[in-house]
């Protein structure tokens, strides 16, 4: 099952490699990983998407907690949460396709952020599944480049992850 794990960790050199090293050493999957400092510059917030059985994900969270620089770990699947990912996708847009691509971008509430006579670059935000769906609707041969940030997740309502 797909799990979104949020963690707060010390914003120190090497902390990220400890997390990445843990996953490779113990054979856990990382589907995506996004990380940046928080409003407190000494802390980084990471969102990690992994796939595994409940037992494996339990071990993942325990092992993450064991890392000295990790302050807190939360499995967002334990409650209601919101997930967003940003994608930039550059699409060939010539002739009749030009209008079609623009229309699809609108349907997915994307915005075109760069235009040339041959291409559009579309910015799209949403749950990872929505971004997948957008890519599915576009002719594969028309996609010149995609860049995705990986999911960021946050608990709904009062549910927060604070140091």
């Amino acid at each position: 099952m797909r799990h979104i794990i949020s963690l707060l960790m010390e914003n120190e050199a090497g902390a990220l490699s400890r997390v990445a090293g843990l996953f490779s050493a113990r054979g856990y999957n990382i589907e995506s990983l996004s990380v940046a400092p928080t409003e407190d510059p000494t802390l980084s917030r990471m969102t990690l998407v992994t796939v595994g059985s409940d037992d494996v994900v339990e071990q993942v969270t325990k092992q993450l907690n064991k890392l000295i620089e990790v302050v807190k770990v939360m499995d967002l699947n334990d409650g209601d949460h919101i997930e967003r990912e940003l994608m930039l996708v550059k699409v060939r847009a010539v002739g009749v396709d030009r209008e079609e691509v623009k229309r699809l971008a609108e349907i997915f509430r994307g915005s075109i952020i760069d235009v040339t006579d041959k291409s559009y670059t579309i910015e799209l935000t949403g749950a990872s599944a929505k971004l997948d769906a957008f890519l599915d609707t576009i002719d594969k041969n028309a996609i010149l480049e995609t860049v995705r940030t990986g999911a960021s997740g946050i608990g709904r309502g009062e549910w927060t992850l604070k140091a």
């Binding site: 010390e10 090497g14 071990q59 000295i68 302050v71």
Partner: protein, 567 residues
């Protein structure tokens, strides 16, 4: 706040502040300033080893036998890479240790400088934590953190990598009294609700067993464990790492369990109805195949300080995260105030069954063999030392025989590499043990293969006059490899034969020690007695043993605990 000190001075002062009076190391370019400061003082004694692996093993043996943090000091590059085997050994067995490594100057890091290696990267998977100190102002607090992390919670090795220029730079020195880390706050007390559940389950048991591991030793909980087991009249088994946690000569002790555990311990584990796991982690050498293990209807209580050890290989019913000593004390308190006791009739039946298993006499061997049986050497060693020696071992058959036949009644007397299984551990670990326990009897049980992996340390032993007694069980084979090849690889002894062995007697003598070669069973006792009489000398005893002897019982890999191969 006083005058400014250099990073090297600060490092040595930190060690003094931590009460460290003995460290193990090997100098080199990146640590010259540190060695210069060590030279100028006499509070911290430095033991010069002959290879960095031995420095870390010696610090490890020092820590295991004394309950203090072991300290090793190595230079950059090859100093660190040589130390890695020792660090990984300590990590697998959760031994508190601080390793200080030199690093090339900060300005040279990343430029492929001479003797540069990414020490942080290389050691990351085998340390509890590691630090690169880039600013001398952070040196003292980092060393404080290193000792704190190494010795609290589930202990482990911590590496502090110090670039050469940082050891030269100056700053004001103050050593923090205590330290708190927002991201690290190990639990101590167990949750009371779970402890109550555990007590209830213990009282409901009809076929109980207490299974205790290295956590009991690390937490200094032997007294609590013994009290609990004896007040309940439960059988108790120890893992390889837990030996000495419960007195082996007590009738309630059913021996070590696991791949080479006793028949009675393994059967009791398999067929118990309540299993109390204390500071143990259900690893592959202990319970075999978890699928076979979980066939039985039993309830499991698991006490461990590390949440990730719980439900890792085996699902448990009552997990208790906490320090073993604290939790056992709470359980004892609850049971003492409870009017209930376990079903005595059922317990009597269970003991009857265990005694039947015990009567199988699974450790028996040919006592009348004209060739020396390795088991007999250990039994004689036990007799001669009255069970009171510190015993270190290397890895293989001799290690298992030592664990089976030397009855440890006290914790911290049995020192071996259980998790990583590091050949070459025994001799340097014995050096550390002897230095931590001057005047004590220290025996290193080894084999002709293992001993050669750190044999150069005979030189260190000479330099520091360490009167170790080395028991070399010499069967001219890598015995455990040979045993597996006999059982599982059609008797094809691929590369497991030790050809071209040195004359160990002459070798010992060339290092200035006493060497003995013992070839007949009737000479074992006399040789051991003579060796231990030589109080000030290292004696290397080369016992020529039966080449074909195997370790029994044996649970083959992938099998369940009750599927033992017996003699």
């Amino acid at each position: 706040m006083s005058v400014e000190l250099t990073g090297a001075e600060i490092t040595v002062r930190c060690l003094q502040e931590e009460g460290i009076n003995c460290i193990f190391g090997y100098p080199g370019g990146a640590v010259l300033f540190l060695y210069d400061e060590l030279f100028k003082q006499d509070k911290v004694k430095h033991i010069l080893v002959r290879h960095e692996q031995a420095a870390v093993h010696a610090a490890d043996g020092y820590a295991r036998s004394s309950n203090k943090v072991g300290v090793a000091l190595v230079t950059s590059g090859p100093g660190v890479t040589n130390a890695v085997t020792g660090i990984a050994t300590a990590y697998m067995d959760s031994i508190p240790m601080v390793i200080i490594s030199g690093q090339v100057p900060t300005s040279a890091i990343g430029l492929d400088a001479f003797q540069e290696v990414d020490a942080i990267g290389i050691t990351r998977p085998c340390v509890k934590h590691n630090f690169l100190v880039k600013d001398v102002a952070e040196l003292a607090s980092t060393i404080k953190k290193a000792f704190y992390i190494a010795s609290t919670g589930r202990p482990g090795p911590v590496l502090v990598d110090i670039p050469k220029d940082v050891t030269q730079q100056k700053t004001r020195f103050s050593y923090p009294e205590s330290i708190t880390l927002r991201s690290y706050d190990p639990v101590v007390k167990g949750p009371m609700r779970q402890i109550k559940k555990a007590a209830e389950l213990i009282l409901s048991a009809k076929r109980p067993i207490v299974y205790a591991g290295g956590g009991v030793i690390l937490s200094n909980a032997a007294e609590q464990l013994t009290k609990l087991v004896q007040m309940l009249n439960f059988p108790c088994t120890n893992t390889l790492m837990g030996l000495g946690g419960y007195p082996a000569t007590d009738p309630q002790f059913v021996g070590m369990l696991g791949m080479h555990g006793t028949y009675e311990a393994n059967m009791a584990m398999q067929y118990c109805d309540v299993l109390v796991a204390v500071g143990a982690r259900f690893d592959d050498r202990v319970i075999g195949n978890p699928k076979h293990f979980s066939n039985e209807n039993r309830k499991i209580i698991h006490i461990d300080i590390d949440p990730s050890s719980i439900s890792k290989r085996v699902k448990v019913d009552v997990p208790i995260v906490g320090d073993v000593t604290e939790v056992l004390n709470e359980i004892i308190n609850l049971l003492q105030t409870d009017k209930h006791t376990p079903d005595q009739a059922a317990l009597k039946e269970w003991w009857k069954q265990i005694e039947l298993w015990r009567a199988r006499d699974c450790l028996k061997y040919d006592q009348d063999s004209p060739i020396i049986k390795p088991q007999m050497v250990i039994e004689k060693l036990y007799k001669i030392t009255k069970g009171d020696a510190f015993v270190t071992s290397d890895v293989g058959q001799h290690q298992m025989w030592a664990a089976q036949f030397y009855k440890f009644d006290k914790p911290r007397r049995w020192i071996n590499s259980g998790g990583l299984g590091t050949m070459g551990f025994g001799l340097p670990a014995a050096m550390g043990t002897q230095l931590a326990n001057p005047g004590a009897k220290v025996a290193c049980i080894t084999g002709e293969a293992s001993i050669q992996m750190c044999i150069q340390e005979l030189s260190t032993c000479k330099q520091y006059k360490l009167p170790l007694k080395i028991i070399n069980l010499n069967n001219r084979y890598m015995g455990m490899v040979r045993q597996w090849q006999e059982f599982f690889h059609g008797n094809r002894y691929a590369e497991s034969y030790m050809n071209a062995l040195p004359d160990f007697v002459k070798l010992a003598e060339s290092y200035g020690h006493v060497g003995m070669k013992i070839e007949k069973p009737e000479d074992i006792e006399g040789a051991l007695k003579e060796a231990f009489k030589l109080k000030d000398q290292l004696v290397f005893m080369d016992f020529i043993t039966d080449q074909t002897e195997n370790v029994f019982p044996m649970v083959p890999g992938g099998k369940g605990l009750s599927e033992m191969i017996l003699v």
